[in-house]
Symmetry: C2
Subunit: 145 residues, 2 copies
């Protein structure tokens, strides 16, 4: 090879860089989550089920930008493992609220620790100020504020 690919125009496209950061991060996070038998998508659903947001499956689909049919499979797996429960929303019997069980909450804390380590590895080239700046910019890009 005569040139340095990191100097190619492609390597200056923000989306391409986001994909690289994503694939590096996802690989590390999935490897780390092996120890708690989760994968990033299961981890994401468990995290939201464990928050005080009390999301319905539709909420999860919108926030995670996954199709509702994909949420079904993820929630079912977590439910079968006793980590979350589905409860019909009394105010709209079509909707099901997904909530972490105590066991799910406990596993989530373990999972959060290992993904935290993976994140530190992924971002090790940045100072903590830079990491904070990146976080702010990503939040603004994604949520618009």
């Amino acid at each position: 090879m005569n040139g340095d690919l990191s100097r190619s125009p492609l390597a200056h496209e923000i989306e391409f860089l986001a994909i690289k950061l994503f694939s590096m991060g996802t690989r590390r996070a999935n490897d780390a989550l092996l120890s708690v038998s989760l994968r990033v998508r299961l981890y994401s659903v468990l995290a939201l089920a464990n928050s005080d947001a009390h999301p319905t499956q539709r909420d999860l689909a919108e926030f995670l930008e996954l199709d509702p049919s994909q949420i079904v499979a993820l929630v079912t797996e977590l439910e079968n493992r006793g980590l979350v429960i589905r409860e019909i929303d009394p105010s709209d019997r079509r909707s099901k609220v997904v909530t972490a069980t105590p066991r799910g909450a406990k596993l989530f804390e373990e999972a959060r620790a290992v993904t935290g380590n993976a994140e530190s590895e992924t971002l090790s080239a940045l100072t903590s100020d830079e990491q904070a700046a990146l976080l702010r910019l990503l939040r603004k890009a994604v949520f618009g504020a």
Copy 2:
């Protein structure tokens, strides 16, 4: 739902935000690339084949963080469409250098225009200064400098 998922702890994890930005961006980019019959991975390979880096398939695999066997399929598709050529490296006959044809170079310029539009949409919440700052931080996180 009682809470706002964008205030959940998950929504403050950098890797999760990178995944969201990635999935938003990839979806838009893939939609945009439909008009030139490419997808993001084909676009990435074509972009690097069209640079002055003259990468081998092994170089592409490392830079794109894909398995060499995946590169085979991508290069073969581009080759069958007359957009790139494989050439044996005379200095190491095991390696094949991937280079864009004139037709490939032309299609890449079209593709770059449409992905540029998609990127602008994805990042529309950021000012141009913020976009530049995000680019710098992503490059440092990914390439370490």
